[in-house]
Each structure stands twice: as structure tokens, then as C-alpha cells.
Amino acid sequence: MMTPAIDTTTLTRRFGDFTAVDNVNLRVDAGQFFGFLGPNGAGKSTTIKMLTGLLAPTSGSIRILGEDFEVRSAEIKRQIGVVPEGMALFGRLTAGEYLQFVGRMYGLDRVTTLNRTRELLEFMQLADEQKKLITDFSHGMQKKLAMAAAVIHGPKVLFLDEPFEGVDAVAAGTLKAMLQRMIARGATIFLTSHVLEIVERLCTHIAIIHRGRLVAQGALDELRAGARRTGQAGIEAGAAPPEAEKRSLEQIFLEIVGTDREGNPGAVTPEQELSWLS
């Protein structure tokens, strides 16, 4: 049996009385392009932070590439790349300086770091901005730089928290091409995004988190094929009704998360409509 790239067991994170991530059992096989979806505040970023070692779980375990994160965090961090929610760049460096620093922190030798820095800056169309400090970059440029920093050491697993947010269409195309190339070479990508069209186009497997709980997980085709929804507990494979085959990821997503706490549809009622809007 193949070792999963990401494997969590009853992963839980509480902030005071609030449970942000609740008993999540996640399995992502190596080489998968995995989409991790959920509405705002569902627990996506908290999960990514735990998977990348930035946040300690309250309980449960995390294994990345078969290794326990708690035991071998430094080794695991060498094998993963992260584009975090806040990008975490050092604003007072130039793009080239930042990539060189990151390369050296990941143990790349000086020549390799310099070569990859040059290549990545050109690839991300940042080569002309070498004299600018990162703090003066636009949001999209910072996102591209964060992506370049996440891949400079050639990670086996890449975690991307909203990588396309604020990125122009040209840059998004460049990023998507790069991600697909990495997948073709055997890397695993764990992606969160609110742009469901992009997720649908790129990802082969999907998990949906809602109010901290994993409510769906599987291959995109399985979900699309009309898996039968079983309330908040999860998705079970079942006989697919014919019309369900045409359902988009957005429809599936809304069907699963567009509910209130009791599982009732959460659509806006006529009384709640903003009637004063033209």
C-alpha cells in the first residue's frame, strides 16, 4: 500500500471554547492535486497551519510523507513548500534577496540558490523588479514571489492557501502551468481556494470542510457522479442519479455547505432579502 503524502488522524484544534477543526481524518495520496474547500471560517487555514507546523494541534496526529510531524518536523519542513495565507514575506528585502535567503535556509548551496533565484524571477516575471523592495510590490507580485519561495527547494508536497487571490489572469496562467508541471513530476499539491472553477479544473481530489468538520472527501469524479449526501456526517458512494453527472463543483459545494447547523438549507428567505437594493 502506497504511503500517503498527507495523513491526519482525528486532527483537532480548539481556540478556547471554540473548535476550529474537529476530528479531521484526511488522506492525500502522493501525486494528487488535492483541493481543500470550505466556506469562510470553516477551518481551512487552521488545517493548513497545522499541516505545515505553524500551529500545534490540540489533539490528533499528522503524518507527512509517512513521517510524524511531531517527531521529525525539521526533516518534513525540508520536503514541503508553503504559500501561507499572509504570505509571510520580509518586506525590507528585494525579491532576489528573499529567494536567496529562503534557498540557503532550505540548505541549497550558493550556486544552486543563485541559479534558481534567477530562473524563478524570470519565470514569475519579476526579473525587472529586482531593485524594488518587497514592501513596494503589489499584492499579485507578492503572491508570485511567495509561490517562488515555496518551490525554490523543490518540495515534494506543496501547500497553497488561496494562491490565486489577487493574481492577474496572466500570472494565474503561469502559476497553474507550473503547478501542473510539478504534479506531472510526482509532487503532491494541497490547495485551498474560493475560486471553484480553478479547483475544478486543476484538482483531481477534493475535501470539503464545514464548521471544522470534514463533510466530504474523495475523487472529484466520485463527488460529481452524485455521491449521496448524508447530512453533516460525510459523503457516501451510492447510485448516481443521471442528472447529477452534470453537476458542477459549485453546485456540489453549495449543496453540502449551504446549510445551517441543523442541516437545513441556508438559502436567504424572502423576508431577509435586501428589498431596498435596486
Binding site: 481556540f15 478556547g16 471554547d17 471554540f18 476550529a20 469562510n40 471560517g41 487552521t46 497551519k49 497545522m50 505545515t52 507546523g53 505553524l54 500551529l55 500545534a56 511531531e70 525539521a74 526533516e75 518534513i76 519542513k77 525540508r78 520536503q79 508553503v82 501561507p84 509571510a88 520580509f90 525590507r92 528585502l93 528585494t94 534577496e97 535567503f101 529562503v102 540557503r104 535556509m105 532550505y106 540548505g107 544552486t112 541559479n115 534558481r116 530562473e119 524563478l120 524570470e122 519565470f123 523592495l133 518551490v151 525554490i152 527547494h153 523543490g154 518540495p155 515534494k156 503561469t174 502551468a177 507550473m178 508541471r181 510539478m182 513530476r185 510526482g186 509532487a187
Partner: protein, 583 residues
């Protein structure tokens, strides 16, 4: 498109990354941040050039003063250590080392660090890199060593070692070794306190309690000071301080300063000296270990902020809580809507809600009042300065509330965009903010005034009160005028009541901070000759007549700035976008 050769070869080997590679990378990072912050940012317009020139001139003036302030404790430590050994009073050495440790911690806690004056980075952000905990600990121990506390403390200890060596050459080597370890102990003690304070101060309730304790401590010290030596000469107080240091010797022997002192003084008895030295090493290791415990938690992914838990709690709550919204609106100054325009009333309500939740600021406003009460109750003090006591006390209470006038949009952050986008007059927004500030100024100085009148044993004549009132109007109106200008020209994003600000530094621009002091002390200097002339020529109403035109001019200046607010804001939209909206 360039081929990504980097992503072709995923590293399979797990050979460890050399420590030197990572440590040098962080050193290089720190160096580049320093170089880029100092030399890289080119001023884009005349205003920025002027700002840069002013900042350089300020440093030329301030840094030598700071350096001179450092020289005192360093030379003093060397001299006192020499005195203790050469005059046969070695027990004073432990007291001296305790004093140096207290100075070290005091300077450190007050954040007078050179590193803080230049752009830096949060060393906690290094946890995302593949570092082992040992390396992270070393990095966290090394980063931030270039602080005033470490420089002054280390040089004071070096001077003390030299002083001991000059007094008795045979003690020179033990003194150098013991002082080096003692310096390390102080470094870890500072780090330990800083790391744990960071942990506790992340909690709003603790911040408020801490601020309250600090305020009460200052008040208690002043109270005891006045009770013990109401109006003694400076020399007498110094004597009291020195005798306290001296008498602390026997107790200090059970603490690290005592271990260090004994390790030096018992150098001729190697076994006993070794025992003391071992105790010093053990205390250093203890502080390092407690610091490491905190760092380990951070390294494993600790979450300190209250932000997420609060935010998610709100999300978990019912979507729209109308009663809560209504309650919030009702608790705001109710009269605001009736008296002012809707913009002014809305801004007042918003700022009132922000102020109400900022317990730290409210506690901060109480501290000067407590001290004014203590000084007012002291008959010797208040009667000695009867002519100046009221204006001086009012100036002191104003000091804390005038600063925020220079950055009225700072707490709004990105929210300031709304002022630019909404179909409102910026003048209304500024008026609302000024009214809120004015309410605080009036409350603070009004309560201080009442305290002085009630508690002060000396009767304050009406003429002096009128003179002080007009002077207060002058100072407040002038600060409002300059403050509005600075708020528009040099805003700075900050989070109210938070000890660690998003971009480091202080909630107010440094130049603005100096301007507050300049205006306040400058106007205080006006008071002195006027009060003296009033007394000399027996013209009790002289102050009132002098400050009346000043107050009128300041009010006129304020009105003039207010009239031009729209134009000023338009002219400085770029600063708003950069400093506040990008925050």
C-alpha cells in the same frame, strides 16, 4: 518561458543542513534588512526629502545624548567596583552587580533598544523553515543582542571588571570570567522575561491588569518617596539610594549578583570560588531553560493572539444580532445624533465604541491623576511650588492625552478608506475625532483640576486659575491644529491597547512625538517668566492677559487648519493609501 530546473530534482537525501548555512543566512537577512532600510528607500518628493533630512538631524542630536546617558552608568560601575575593592568594602560589589542587573532589565523593559529604532523582523517567523529547535534557540539568543540594555549592561560589567583589576591585579582574570557569565545570565534573564511577558501580554485582560499594577506601583513609589523624604536635597536621596544598595548586600549573596561577586572575591580560595561560580552558572542555565520552555511552545506552533478565537466565536454566533446592534447604538453618546450632523454623530459613536473597549487607555489616563492626587496631598510639595503647581500638574496630565491628537486616523487602519470613499466632508470626520479627543482632554485636566483644588492645602487664586485655563486652551488648540496636520501628513497604523504594534515602534510617528513634547514644554517655558513677572510686579492678572491672545491665536490656527482639511486630505491621499489602507 524559462524551464524550472529547480522543481525537476526533488531532494531525496535527508542529509542535515549545516548549522553554519542557516545561521549565516539569518545573519545575512538581518544585514540586508538593515542596509535596505537605511540606504535603499529613495525619497520620492520634497516632503519625503525634508522628512529624511529632519530624521538625520534628529539622530545627530539624539544619539550623542543617548551615548552620554550610557557613559554615566558605565564609568560609574567601573569607579564603584574600584572603590569597593581598594577601600576594603568588597560587600558593596554584590550591591553594585544587583544595580547593574536592575538597570539592564529596566532599560530592556522600557524598550530603549537601538534595534527597535530600525526596521527588523519577527524572529518567531523563522519557525516555518526547516530548523531544529537547538538552532532556533541559538538564533533567538543571538538576534536582538544589539540593544541598549545589552550594550550598556555589558560595558558596565566590563568597566566593573577593569575597576576590580586596577584595584587588585590578582582579581582581574576571575573578575573578567565571572562578569562574562554574569552578562550571559542577564541576557537570558532579559530574554526569559521578554518571552513570558509576550505570552501574557497577548491577553487583553492581562494587559489591563499589568498596566494597572504598573500604574499603582509608580504611584506607590512616588507616595513613599514623598512620605520618607518630602523635600530633601538631591544628595540626601542619593545617600538613601546608596545605603539601600549597600544594605541589600547580605540578601543579594543568595542571588546571582552575590554568586558573581563571591566568585571574584573568593578567588584566593579556589574551592569556595568554584562553588559560587557553579551557582552563577546554574542560575544562568535556569533562566536559559525557562526561556527555552517558552520558545519550544512557540516552535511547536503556539497561538498567542486572541484574534482567531474571538473572530470565530463571532462567526459561530447567530448571523445578525439586531438587539446587540441596537444596544451598541444606544450606549453611544445619545445626544450626539441630536446636536451634530449625521457624519459627526456616526464617527463619534464609532470612536466611543473603540474607546470603551480600550481598557488600557482608560487605565493610562488614571495614572497621572493618581500622581497629581499624591503630590497635591503633600503639603510641603504643593506649597513649595504654589505658583507653578496648578499649570505644571495640568501640563503633566495633558502629556498623556495630547499624543493621540497627532495620529487621529491611526486606529482606523484600512477603515480610513471609507472616509475617502463615502460622500462626506472630511472636516466632519476630523471634527468628530477632535471632539472625542477634546472630551478626553477636558475630562483628564478637569478631574486633575478638581483634585488639586480639593486636596491642595495652598489656596490657588482665581487669577492663577484663569491664567492656567487660558494657557490650557492655548496648548490644546495649538496641539489640535498641529495634530490635525500631522494626522493627515504622517499617519501611522496602530492597534489601540496592544503592546506590540503591527509594524513595530510606537502608535505615533516619532517626529510627531517630539512635536508634542516641543509644544508642551515650549508653552510651559512661557509660563515661568509670566508667573515670575506676575509675582515680581504684583500683577495677579498678568498671566490671563498674556495668555488670552495666545489662546485666541491658537483657536484661530485650529479653525484655519480645519477649514483647509479637505484640501490637505486630497493632497495627501497617497500617504493615506500607503500608511493606513495598506496596513
Amino acid at each position: 518561458m524559462v524551464e524550472l530546473t529547480g522543481s525537476q530534482s526533488l531532494p531525496d537525501s535527508m542529509s542535515p543542513i549545516p548549522a553554519s548555512t542557516q545561521l549565516l543566512a539569518v545573519a545575512w537577512l538581518r544585514w540586508r534588512i538593515f542596509v535596505n532600510s537605511t540606504f535603499r528607500r529613495q525619497p520620492k518628493n520634497k516632503r519625503q526629502i525634508a522628512g529624511l533630512v529632519f530624521a538625520i538631524l534628529l539622530r545627530i542630536v539624539v544619539w550623542p545624548i543617548l551615548a552620554l546617558m550610557m557613559v554615566g552608568p558605565i564609568v560609574g560601575s567601573g569607579f564603584l567596583a574600584w572603590l569597593a575593592i581598594s577601600e576594603g568594602r568588597p560587600q558593596g560589589l554584590a550591591g553594585l552587580l544587583l544595580g547593574i542587573a536592575l538597570l539592564w532589565q529596566f532599560v530592556s523593559i522600557n524598550g530603549l533598544s537601538i534595534a527597535a529604532s530600525i526596521h527588523s523582523f519577527d524572529p518567531a517567523s523563522l519557525v516555518r523553515f526547516p530548523l531544529r529547535f537547538g538552532r532556533y534557540f541559538v538564533l533567538r539568543s543571538l538576534l536582538g543582542l544589539l540593544t541598549a540594555s545589552t550594550i550598556v549592561g555589558s560595558l558596565a560589567l566590563l568597566a566593573a571588571a577593569l575597576g576590580i583589576g586596577i584595584a587588585d591585579a590578582s582579581l582581574a582574570l576571575p573578575a573578567l570570567v565571572a562578569m562574562a557569565v554574569y552578562a550571559l545570565m542577564n541576557i537570558y534573564l532579559t530574554r526569559m522575561i521578554g518571552a513570558w511577558m509576550d505570552r501574557w501580554l497577548a491577553n487583553r485582560r492581562f494587559r489591563e491588569i499589568f498596566r494597572m499594577i504598573m500604574a499603582l506601583s509608580f504611584a506607590a513609589i512616588q507616595f513613599m518617596n514623598l512620605q520618607r523624604a518630602p523635600m530633601r536635597a538631591h544628595g540626601a536621596r542619593s545617600g538613601l539610594f546608596l545605603s539601600a544598595m549597600h544594605s541589600s548586600g547580605p540578601y543579594v549573596y543568595w542571588l546571582p549578583p552575590g554568586f558573581a561577586a563571591q566568585a571574584i572575591l573568593l578567588a584566593k580560595h579556589p574551592l569556595a570560588a568554584f562553588g559560587q561560580f557553579a551557582a552563577l552558572l546554574a542560575s544562568t542555565a535556569l533562566f536559559a531553560a525557562v526561556f527555552a520552555i517558552r520558545l519550544k511552545k512557540q516552535f511547536l506552533g503556539e497561538y498567542l493572539s486572541e484574534g482567531v478565537s474571538r473572530r470565530v466565536s463571532q462567526q459561530a454566533a447567530p448571523r445578525v444580532r439586531m438587539p446587540a446592534l441596537e444596544a451598541a447604538a444606544q450606549s453611544a453618546p445619545a445626544a450626539a445624533g441630536a446636536v451634530f450632523s449625521s457624519t459627526v454623530a456616526a464617527c463619534l459613536r464609532k470612536d466611543w465604541i473603540v474607546l470603551r473597549s480600550n481598557g488600557t487607555q482608560l487605565i493610562g489616563m488614571m495614572t497621572p491623576l493618581l500622581l497629581v492626587a499624591i503630590f497635591s496631598m503633600n503639603r510641603a510639595f504643593s506649597s513649595s511650588f504654589s505658583g507653578y503647581f496648578l499649570p505644571a500638574a495640568i501640563a503633566y496630565t495633558l502629556l498623556g492625552v495630547l499624543g493621540p491628537l497627532y495620529n487621529v486616523f491611526g486606529a482606523d487602519g484600512r477603515g480610513a478608506q471609507l472616509y475617502l470613499l463615502a460622500p462626506i466632508r472630511m472636516r466632519d470626520v476630523v471634527v468628530a475625532k477632535n471632539l472625542m479627543s477634546l472630551a478626553m482632554v477636558v475630562a483628564e485636566s478637569g478631574v486633575a483640576w478638581i483634585i488639586i483644588c480639593v486636596f491642595s492645602r495652598a489656596r490657588i487664586p482665581v487669577s492663577a486659575q484663569v491664567s492656567t485655563a487660558l494657557w490650557t486652551v492655548f496648548v490644546v488648540a495649538l496641539n489640535l491644529a498641529i495634530g490635525n496636520l500631522r494626522s493627515i501628513q504622517a499617519p501611522r497604523y496602530f492597534v489601540p491597547g496592544q503592546s506590540r504594534q503591527p509594524r513595530g515602534g510606537t502608535p505615533t510617528n516619532r517626529t510627531s512625538g517630539l512635536l508634542v513634547l516641543g509644544v508642551l514644554f515650549g508653552s510651559m517655558l512661557l509660563q515661568i517668566p509670566v508667573a515670575m513677572a506676575s509675582s515680581y510686579f504684583e500683577l495677579p492678572w498678568l498671566g490671563a492677559w498674556v495668555f488670552l491672545p495666545f489662546a485666541a491665536a491658537a483657536v484661530f490656527a485650529y479653525a484655519f487648519v480645519l477649514r483647509n482639511v479637505e484640501h490637505l486630505i486630497l493632497e495627501h491621499r497617497d500617504v493615506f493609501a500607503e500608511e493606513l489602507c495598506k496596513a
